[in-house]
């Protein structure tokens, strides 16, 4: 392999990894909810879209009120997480998992339908003061938003790792995830921890919406990034924070390699389905993901 080829590969890897970390950021929201409440949130992409829309609306075309926009987006998404748990999900407690899945699918449709009515259907920007000059890392030159997005994802990963290992609340949340009944016998208010998990997903989605909104522009299409969550969490394991990070990086890199090496031969488009091919392969070999909890069901 010539050094030029190697440089190309390295650039693809770095580009893929940074995009992948941005996928991981969104996947973290999904994992948080699954870990604590066993609910599969099919509306994760719509959460991100909604956050992006709120951020864009507050920021305006010039991006003057950056801090305010971030705070408002966070507040709206945290409130949305709490409200959703209280109004939609709590009544479904103890129902089959499918009921919750259907509720989130319905919610996704409602959010996609309502947002153009509230925010209009034009594509808006989320301008951030990070400049346009690409940042050179080795042979790769990455858009600044990808570097920022990757950094935010890593930051969240570190924060959540600490939270679940060391903090009292995080340990209690793991207890809730492990066995709701026993957690209740310990005096743990399970519903409250469910609400907290949804609010945390709101926080992750807020940041995800701002970052992905800056990268792609905000309209109803932004919700589609949510689809990338599935290969990421299937690879990493539905309930693993570290797995989400690694799964994200793998998905990002697979996409990037497919785009770099396969697209020239077939005329493009392989990057859109390559992660799913990988996902299906992983499902066949390790159905619980690379880091997922291996469930032993006893009858």
């Amino acid at each position: 392999m010539s050094s030029e080829d190697f440089g190309f590969l390295l650039a693809l890897l770095l580009n893929g990894a940074s995009i992948g970390l941005m996928y991981a950021l969104i996947a973290l929201g999904f994992v948080l909810v699954y870990k604590a409440t066993d609910a599969i949130n099919f509306a994760q992409g719509e959460f991100v879209m909604m956050a992006g829309l709120v951020a864009a609306a507050v920021l305006g075309p010039d991006g003057t009120w950056l801090i305010v926009a971030i705070l408002v987006t966070l507040a709206v998404m945290i409130g949305f997480g709490f409200g959703l748990e209280r109004v939609v999900l709590r009544p479904l407690l103890g129902r089959p998992v499918v009921a919750v899945i259907m509720a989130t699918i319905g919610l996704a449709a409602v959010l996609r339908g309502l947002t153009p009515i509230v925010f209009g259907s034009a594509t808006r920007g989320v301008p951030l003061p990070i400049g346009d000059d690409p940042i050179n890392i080795g042979p790769a030159s990455l858009p600044p938003i990808q570097v920022l997005g990757a950094a935010v994802a890593v930051l969240f990963f570190l924060a959540f790792s600490w939270f679940f290992k060391k903090s009292r609340m995080g340990v209690a949340m793991r207890a809730v995830a492990d066995n709701q009944q026993v957690a209740q016998a310990m005096g743990i208010n399970v519903e409250r921890y469910f609400a907290i998990a949804w609010a945390m997903t709101g926080v992750v989605s807020a940041l995800g919406g701002i970052i992905w909104g800056n990268m792609l522009g905000v309209d109803i299409q932004l919700a589609l990034v949510g689809l990338k969550v599935f290969p990421v969490v299937i690879l990493g394991g539905l309930d693993s924070i570290g797995g989400a990070l690694l799964g994200g990086v793998i998905v990002g890199i697979v996409e990037s390699l497919a785009a770099g090496y396969l697209d020239p031969y077939v005329g493009g488009g392989t990057k859109d389905f390559a992660p799913y091919v990988l996902m299906i392969l992983v499902l066949m070999v390790r159905p619980y993901g690379i880091f997922g909890r291996r469930q032993i069901e006893r009858v």
């Binding site: 009292r168 609340m169 340990v171 209690a172 793991r174 207890a175 492990d178 066995n179 009944q181 026993v182 957690a183 209740q184 016998a185 310990m186 005096g187 743990i188 208010n189 399970v190 907290i196 909890r293």
Partner: protein, 272 residues
């Protein structure tokens, strides 16, 4: 006082926990039918009976997991029949489960610390705003947990994930987690189930110590008659959801209906 008059006993006022004619049906099956139990403060009360007699259902009603169709559960004069399990726990009722129910991914220490949950005063918000308060509190909780670790001789296991422990030890950790709550009333669902004789004796010793040294009232479901007759102050016998006898171990052992329930079962070969 209509209900209590029917179950008048000499030490009525000193009952810590009272079950007043509770019934529970699941579909067409009656799991518990019109059962009344008085648990005197500081006693060890055992509930015995064949499989399917409704023992665990009864315990689940005491800890709030099942809501009785009729009847009341009263803890120290307070009606707890319709309280949530987490609320009942915070009133000082701890329990263990028939199948060991430790948090598998967590260490022994984390499991025991979770037992302290209801004693933790620092709320979510305050621990975010003033980290130091939560830290200070954590040290006090850790001391309480260390004391239990010492009591149950779990010193070497602190940092081990519970999934790696031997069966008897897991049962002991589960007892420790219930004790960490500093309960007034301890509900134990077959604490010696599946144990060998040595382990059973250890567990019986721990239960007696908990009862005598810590003054904890104990309600116990157990199959091992030897243990039950040894350590209980009072025994309640359930058969097919009904209370068929209650009293001192000696009294219950001589009761014709109890003998019949157990012999009848021995004939049908349903119980070991």
């Amino acid at each position: 006082m209509g209900v209590s008059a029917r179950h008048a006993s000499s030490c009525r006022d000193d009952n810590q926990l009272t079950v007043e004619s509770v019934s529970k049906k699941f579909g067409g099956v009656t799991a518990v039918q019109d059962v009344s139990i008085e648990v005197p403060r500081g006693d060890i009360l055992s509930i015995i009976g064949p499989n399917g007699a409704g023992k665990t259902s009864l315990l689940n009603m005491l800890s709030g997991f099942y809501k009785p169709d009729s009847g009341r559960v009263v803890l120290e004069g307070q009606d707890i029949t319709h309280k949530k399990p987490s609320e009942i726990a915070s009133l000082g009722v701890a329990r263990t489960f028939q199948n060991i129910a430790l948090f598998r991914g967590l260490t022994v220490l984390d499991n025991l610390m979770l037992g302290r949950h209801v004693r933790m005063k620092a709320g979510i918000l305050s621990s975010v705003i003033y980290w130091g308060f939560a830290q200070k509190e954590d040290i006090a909780h850790r001391e309480a947990v260390e004391e239990i670790i010492e009591f149950l001789k779990l010193q070497d296991l602190r940092k081990l994930p519970t999934a790696t422990l031997a069966y008897g030890l897991r049962k002991r950790v589960e007892l420790g987690r219930a004790l960490a709550l500093e309960p007034k009333v301890l509900l134990l669902d077959e604490p010696m189930g599946g144990m060998n004789q040595d382990e059973k004796e250890d567990m019986a010793r721990y239960i007696l110590d908990v009862n005598q040294e810590r003054g904890v009232t104990v309600v116990l479901i157990e199959h091992d008659m030897g243990v039950v007759m040894d350590i209980s102050d009072k025994v309640v016998v359930l058969d097919r959801g009904k209370c068929i006898a209650s009293g001192t171990p000696a009294h219950v052992q001589g009761d014709a209906r109890v003998i019949e329930a157990y012999l009848g079962m021995a004939k049908s070969g349903g119980q070991t």
